[in-house]
């Protein structure tokens, strides 16, 4: 019973309380760069979640075979392998998305969320909990990306997931899909998530 609870907790903490982007400020480069539309955000989210879950599982499995001294390079090899798999599969089956995300797919390797979780969680815990942790963190990251992408696409293009929402008369604020819009939107989202966290955990220590 207690084990089930802890796996559930490992999963949910990544969604908001320890959201990798909004709270821990990790993985900022892809967050800002690919969130110009909701679909790009979703694509990056799925790719990063896959790498996160797989690398967490493998790192947790090979724990006994990794000398402490060279654990970081080995984790990097594991992560880079899965990133390349994602890159090849995306190029083969979703070429449009693969082009839209460009160099940010190979750059998942240096996304601090993934190496961070491998080092801080997967190298110390069992396979099941590591997988749950990876999935939670990945979903938290994806959710942030989709939200940010939808927000920027709505204001900057008048649409969400390519479907026109604002109507033909809407003059899109192109600034929102330009780099400055990324910074400003993320600033608002971080502030909003802090406000929500404080409201929900009133009385608790935040």
């Amino acid at each position: 019973m207690s084990k089930k609870v802890s796996i559930f907790k490992d999963f949910t903490k990544g969604l908001l309380v320890e959201n990798p982007t909004l709270v821990l400020a990790l993985g900022l480069c892809p967050t800002l760069a690919v969130s110009s539309s909701a679909i790009n955000g979703l694509g990056m989210g799925v790719a990063a979640t896959f790498v996160l879950v797989m690398s967490n599982i493998i790192v947790s499995l090979i724990r006994p075979l990794v000398p402490a001294k060279i654990r970081i390079p080995i984790f990097i090899v594991v992560i880079a392998t899965f990133v390349t798999v994602v890159k090849l599969v995306m190029a083969a089956y979703t070429p449009a998305l693969s082009e839209a995300l460009g160099i940010f797919i190979p750059l998942i390797v240096v996304n601090c969320i993934i190496l961070g979780r491998a080092e801080a969680f997967a190298s110390k815990h069992g396979v099941l909990r590591s997988a749950a942790d990876g999935l939670g963190m990945g979903l938290g990251f994806s959710l942030t990306l989709i939200l940010l992408g939808s927000f920027r696409e709505l204001l900057g293009n008048g649409s969400i997931f390519g479907a026109n929402i604002m109507g033909a008369s809407y003059q899109p604020a192109i600034m929102m899909i330009l780099p400055p819009g990324a910074f400003l939107s993320l600033a608002m989202m971080v502030a909003a998530s802090r406000w929500i966290l404080e409201k929900t955990s009133k009385g608790g220590n935040s």
């Binding site: 760069a33 690919v34 110009s36 539309s37 790009n40 000398p67 001294k69 060279i70 390079p73 080995i74 090899v77 594991v78 880079a80 392998t81 390349t84 798999v85 090849l88 599969v89 190029a91 083969a92 089956y93 070429p95 449009a96 082009e99 839209a100 995300l101 460009g102 160099i103 920027r152 900057g156 649409s159 390519g162 479907a163 026109n164 192109i174 899909i177 330009l178 780099p179």
Partner: protein
């Protein structure tokens, strides 16, 4: 020495395993990727030169171009298709250009780019059904001398925040069409006459056969 050697060997072992696994994945996806690229290329070629039904690739030195004919017999040339390569903001942009016989642009289609998502990628809004691909459409009917962004005195409105991308596409298209003009221009004038001679020869042979 042993301190360095052992971790090094372990790391190498991991590297080899990873490399082999990736080789396996690559051998499965590589044909698929190549097929995707070829299909996209063919679709783009048909898109930019809709009047042509038969295509033939020709090379002149290291310059490669495709001649499109209106019908199977290859009697009448509908136009040409060339690929323009331009150095953009973060990628080499590949544009397929359909060219009319008077060397104006029939239509262009950007087939590969990985520019900043949301900026340079605005050049390719074909995938988005709600948007007219206005940037690509601007090229239609222009002679190479007019293909330039407005900031450089041309007729094209560049993409907001992506001047480099716009300029790269415009310049590469203009240069490639110019090059096509100089390579094909002279042979185009000769080609029809050659074909006329050929066909008359054919007819003569048939006629001779008929007489005998």
């Amino acid at each position: 020495m042993k301190d360095i050697l052992k971790p090094g060997l372990i790391l190498m072992a991991y590297g080899i395993i990873a490399g082999l696994a990736l080789g396996l994945v690559n051998s499965m996806t590589a044909p698929k990727i190549a097929a995707q690229e070829e299909a996209a290329r063919m679709a783009a070629i048909e898109e930019v030169l809709p009047t042509a039904t038969v295509f033939e690739t020709k090379t002149e030195g290291d310059f490669e171009y495709i001649v499109g004919y209106t019908e199977e017999s290859k009697a009448e040339i509908a136009g040409f298709v060339v690929t323009a390569l331009g150095n953009g903001f973060s990628s080499t942009i590949r544009t397929v250009v359909g060219v009319n016989t008077d060397f104006t642009v029939a239509a262009i289609e950007i087939v590969y780019q990985s520019e900043t998502p949301g900026l340079g990628t605005k050049a390719v809004e074909l995938d988005d059904p709600t948007k007219e691909p206005w940037f690509e459409r601007q090229f239609d009917g222009l002679p190479p001398s007019d293909i330039n962004v407005d900031k450089d005195g041309g007729k094209l409105r560049s993409i907001t925040g992506a001047t480099i991308t716009s300029r790269a596409i415009a310049r590469s298209v203009a240069i490639t069409v110019e090059k096509l003009k100089t390579t094909v221009g002279s042979s185009l004038e000769q080609e029809p006459t050659e074909e006329v001679i050929d066909s008359t020869n054919d007819i003569e042979i048939v006629e001779e056969g008929g007489v005998e």
